[in-house]
């Protein structure tokens, strides 16, 4: 392009200046776009590329209702409404809209946060539902944002809350199944690294996007039966009202597979109102976390050991004087007067300590609890029936308890004489109930379980792999004999409480508590351990009840057994058991 400006004209001067400016621009552009290209690409990446976590959906938790899974824990998306004070245009509009749409969810005095200087994120309301959030979004309020948060909801209210546990604000399971199976329930978060527009909407532009999908958590189905759990909780509440006890626990198991059907404690809590729980002790599942001296219930274990070892039969007799001396201590009976030559069945019926010490002696040389007797008892109590061992149930905070081995200095004859009637050892209710199940089911120990299976994304149920079982912990014959003895023990005094035509047996327990290292009689714990089922068949259920209260004398027969009776009779109907003569 020929321009031919007049020489020395002002236009020529302007043209030269313009050309210089344009040249300067081109040089500058070359510097920015070509030389500094990589620098700006990295600047752009840090601004345009965002990393999103693709949240895995936490698995839901189901219970069984007979053979059909029902939801106990679900997920719900709620919204946290927040404000960026810098972008707020109309404070009053925000206040009005929030009060109108989500008045119940707002933070206290939320208006003061809307224009708080020096911050760019202030929460105004939490747990706002999707519907409310949609209404608020329609208002198009400048500066107001929404964060989707997933929270647990409990369609059955506080049912089985201590079994379930809860999820804390960081999304971590606490207590119960939520904690024990946190990894399975949580799944695995995915990752999306992508170029986005300024409003964080991912773009498909470019080749820098990376996506790793989330793997949702497993939906777990518990062995808990919704109806049995509800019945057990109801019976506990009634028992609490009746007795005034402050600590009550119950466990219902199927002795033929080790599955826990119900597990409940009082006091408990409502998982949807965690902030109202005053004492964190309410979160504890005492049936697994609180080992105690099981007391007289363990007499069934001692008798079973004697029978299985062939040192006694139900009709074996011994001379009961209400006192028996072991080394330097004397053991006495709680119920006195059943003196003379009495049978082992009689001793079990009356829960006589002397009878149990006698069995322990007969496991030895007949007159003292020898090392060999102690080894046998330890083998049965600890190794075979797994008292003092972690059961491995899929619940958090399981405690182990203590059964002192004869190898230890403490494991002497005196200790084992006490252990014969359930003192000098600690066990959890789950351990006792599981061991008892093996005693009455034909002699197979089933490792207790609370997870029945999973439900996949399509809603199909998949049973969990069977847990280990240990047949022959006592012989089938011994088991039949023991069950019959326990049946007789119950029938001896309490036959009228059961529906006629069923096979219901049980053993009371009234344990002293230890205060400052000494047994005291001012506070006793009442327990009841029993089974029920059809005559001529393996028992269908094992129920164990415990009632306790500070400075209260609670007994197995007066306070714990009525709760057992209530549940047991209900179970007979619920399981549609057939009465037989």
């Amino acid at each position: 392009m020929e321009l031919h400006f007049a020489p020395k004209s002002r236009a020529r001067g302007l043209a030269i200046i313009l050309a210089i400016i344009m040249a300067l621009f081109v040089v500058r552009l070359f510097y920015i776009q070509v030389i500094q290209h990589q620098y700006y690409v990295s600047q752009a990446d840090s601004e345009q590329i965002k990393q999103f976590t693709l949240r895995a959906k936490r698995g839901e938790i189901y219970a069984m209702e007979a053979d059909k899974p029902v939801r106990l824990v679900m997920n719900e998306t709620v919204y946290t409404v927040w404000v960026d004070p810098v972008q707020v245009a109309d404070k009053q509009a925000i206040v009005d809209a929030l009060n109108r749409v989500a008045g119940g969810n707002t933070r206290k005095d939320f208006a003061q946060y809307i224009e708080r200087a020096g911050t760019r994120y202030q929460v105004l309301a939490t747990k706002v539902t999707r519907t409310q959030a949609e209404l608020l979004k329609k208002e198009n309020l400048a500066g107001v944002g929404f964060d989707a948060v997933s929270q647990r909801v409990y369609p059955e209210g506080q049912l089985a809350s201590q079994v379930l546990g809860f999820v804390d604000s960081e999304g971590v399971g606490k207590y119960g199944v939520e904690q024990a199976s946190n990894d399975r329930l949580r799944g695995q978060d995915g990752l999306l690294k992508t170029v986005t527009d300024v409003r964080l909407v991912p773009l498909t532009v470019g080749d820098k996007n990376i996506k790793k999908p989330a793997r949702d958590g497993d939906n777990l189905v518990l062995t808990i039966d919704r109806n049995i759990q509800a019945e057990a909780e109801k019976a506990l509440v009634e028992g609490m009202q009746r007795t005034g006890a402050t600590q009550l626990s119950v466990i219902v198991m199927n002795p033929n597979n080790g599955k826990v059907l119900a597990m409940a404690n009082l006091p408990t809590y409502d998982p949807s109102k965690l902030n109202e729980v005053a004492d964190a002790a309410a979160f504890n599942n005492d049936t697994i976390s609180n080992p105690y001296e099981p007391g007289s219930d363990i007499k069934t274990f001692t008798v079973a050991t004697g029978i299985d070892k062939g040192v006694i039969t139900p009709q074996s007799t011994y001379l009961n004087t209400d006192y028996i001396k072991i080394d330097d201590i004397t053991v006495s009976n709680a119920s006195k007067g059943q003196t003379g030559n009495i049978t082992m069945q009689h001793a079990l019926n009356w829960s006589l300590n002397t009878g149990m010490v006698t069995i322990a002696q007969r496991l030895g040389n007949g007159s003292s609890i020898t090392r060999s007797a102690r080894d046998t008892m330890y083998e049965y109590f600890h190794d075979r029936l797994r008292l003092g061992q972690l059961s491995g149930i899929e619940l958090a905070n399981e405690a182990k308890g203590v059964v002192v081995s004869p190898d230890e200095e403490q494991g002497n004859a005196v200790r084992y004489s006490n252990m014969a009637f359930g003192q000098g050892m600690d066990a959890t209710m789950l351990q006792v109930a599981s061991g008892f199940g093996a005693l009455v089911n034909g002699g197979t120990y089933y490792v207790p379980s609370i997870i029945n299976g999973t439900i996949d994304a399509d809603g199909n149920y998949h049973a969990a792999a069977d847990k280990p079982r240990y047949p022959g912990v006592i012989s089938p014959a011994s088991s039949t004999t023991l069950a019959e003895m326990v049946y007789q023990a119950r029938q001896a005094f309490y036959s009228k409480t059961d529906k006629p035509g069923f096979y219901v047996g049980g053993k009371t327990g009234t344990s002293q508590t230890i205060k400052n290292g000494k047994y005291v009689s001012t506070e006793t714990i009442g327990t009841y351990l029993g089974f029920g089922g059809e005559k001529g068949a393996s028992p269908s259920y094992v129920i164990m009840v415990e009632v306790a209260g500070k400075d209260m004398n609670l007994s197995g027969n007066a306070h714990a057994m009525p709760i057992f009776n209530e549940i047991s009779n209900w179970m007979i109907d619920y399981l549609r058991l057939t009465p037989r003569e």
Binding site: K8, A11, L18, Q33, Y39, V41, A44, D197, V201, V205
Partner: protein, 439 residues
């Protein structure tokens, strides 16, 4: 002196005579303008979907479609081309005769805007931009900016006024020439810069007046003084208006210098930073059509004031160099025409158009590449639609019309300025004019 004045006067008024002598217009004006307009249209096509997406999100509607912007731009172009044709046909004499009328209309519209906006706050008529009222809201027709009318009114009025003073040989007369020019310019700058808070348009006006004064042959001494006065006033306007002061501080010292409680400073730095990112990521060859990321909302005013940066992102260094080349060529054509127009009023009018275009191109590009602070000024013919496009096209139409009256041989301004004989003027241009085939 007297004869010379008469001679120039006759020429100036004798457009009719000259019309017979007119020759082929400068088609290159149409060529460069057309190419730039086409590029603008391509760009609207390229980033329209992203813009539509952003606006739909912001306004929570689905009003904006993927083709919304390209169609609107095409409509604007149609109006702009009509304006070009109109001004290329409208006899210059008609324009010069209505110079005063234009000024009155411009001032009237500005006054109306002031009353409707600043006084009555009728936001449905006067659009509110961060507290300033700059344009009328015409609903579906878009916006109308009275400052554009003021610009063209100032241009035509000064062309007539200065042309008359030059013909009188009084261009260097402080009382008769300099003060009236300063007066009317000052009034318009007051309206635009102070009332409408539009520094960009103010700078464009100053550039128009500057180019016209320079081409009028005003003495360097006077020009220097005017520049000094303008710079002092400009500096005061910057120093005494907080947001401009901060913008300047931010530009030179970075965010840290600006008071962090003021968002404006922060925004302006963010704006420049993202313009540079757009240019920088574009690299040598650009990301290509449909791949702009900065246009998805990172870069403010992506289709208006920041369109150059988006072009750099999409078309790369090659693309923006071509665009600068087109602007350079267009501006030099305009300057060449100004240089060769024997009629002082025509010459000044074209010089004004040059100052106008040059201010927009230079200020816009310089701010996008971080050489000057942001002023909020459109890139002519490329920025999305609106009044700016139509008026620039109209101004180029005027240049196109006047390009028919250039003399082929170049004119020495010094000779022209000092000519004291009719022969000296006329003889050198028209009578002996020879048409030689060009390029």
């Amino acid at each position: 002196m007297n004869r010379a004045r008469r001679a120039v006067g006759r020429m100036a008024s004798g457009v009719g005579d000259l019309a017979q002598r007119r020759h082929r217009p400068d088609y290159q004006i149409v060529l460069f303008m057309g190419l730039l307009m086409l590029l603008g249209l391509v760009l609207m096509y390229a980033i329209g979907p992203q813009r539509a997406n952003v606006l739909n999100e912001v306004h929570n509607t689905d009003f904006y479609t993927d083709t919304y912007f390209v169609i609107k731009q095409a409509l604007s172009l149609a109006v702009a081309i009509a304006a070009f044709v109109f001004f290329s046909k409208l006899p210059f004499s008609v324009l010069t005769r209505s110079a005063m009328r234009l000024v009155q209309v411009g001032l009237g519209l500005a006054a109306l805007l002031f009353v409707a906006g600043n006084l009555l706050h009728i936001d449905s008529i006067a659009a509110n931009t961060l507290g300033a009222y700059r344009w009328f809201n015409l609903g579906p027709l878009g916006g109308f900016q009275p400052a554009e009318v003021l610009k063209i009114a100032l241009l035509v009025y000064l062309a007539v006024f200065l042309g008359k003073r030059v013909s009188e040989g009084a261009v260097n007369d402080v009382e008769r020439t300099v003060l009236p020019v300063v007066g009317i310019t000052g009034l318009m700058l007051f309206i635009v810069v102070v009332l409408q808070k539009d520094m960009g348009t103010g700078l464009a006006m100053a550039s128009i007046v500057g180019a016209m004064l320079l081409m009028s042959g005003m003495s360097w001494k006077l020009l220097t003084r005017l520049v000094v006065v303008a710079m002092v006033i400009g500096a005061l306007l910057v120093v005494f208006v907080p947001h401009r002061r901060e913008r300047l501080m931010t530009f030179f010292l970075g965010d840290a210098a600006a008071d962090s409680s003021h968002v404006a400073a922060d925004d302006s730095n963010y704006h420049i930073k993202n313009a540079m990112i757009a240019l920088g990521t574009g690299g040598f060859a650009g990301l290509g059509i449909g791949n702009s990321i900065q246009a998805t909302g990172y870069l403010p005013e992506a289709i208006n004031d920041s369109v150059f940066a988006i072009m750099g992102e999409i078309f790369g260094f090659m693309g923006v160099t071509v665009i600068l080349g087109l602007f350079g060529a267009l501006l030099l054509r305009v300057l060449r025409i100004a240089d060769r127009l024997p009629d002082m009023r025509m010459k000044l009018a074209v010089a004004g158009v040059f100052g106008w275009l040059a201010a927009h191109v230079v200020l816009n590009v310089a701010s996008m590449i971080g050489l000057v602070p942001l002023t909020g000024i459109t890139l002519p013919l490329l920025s999305f639609g609106g009044t700016s496009m139509v008026f620039v096209a109209g101004a180029l139409g005027l240049v196109y019309q006047l390009s028919q009256f250039t003399s082929h041989s170049t004119i020495m301004e010094s000779r022209y300025e000092n000519s004291s004989s009719r022969r000296g003027i006329g003889g050198s241009r028209y009578p002996s004019r020879r048409r030689t085939p060009r390029n």
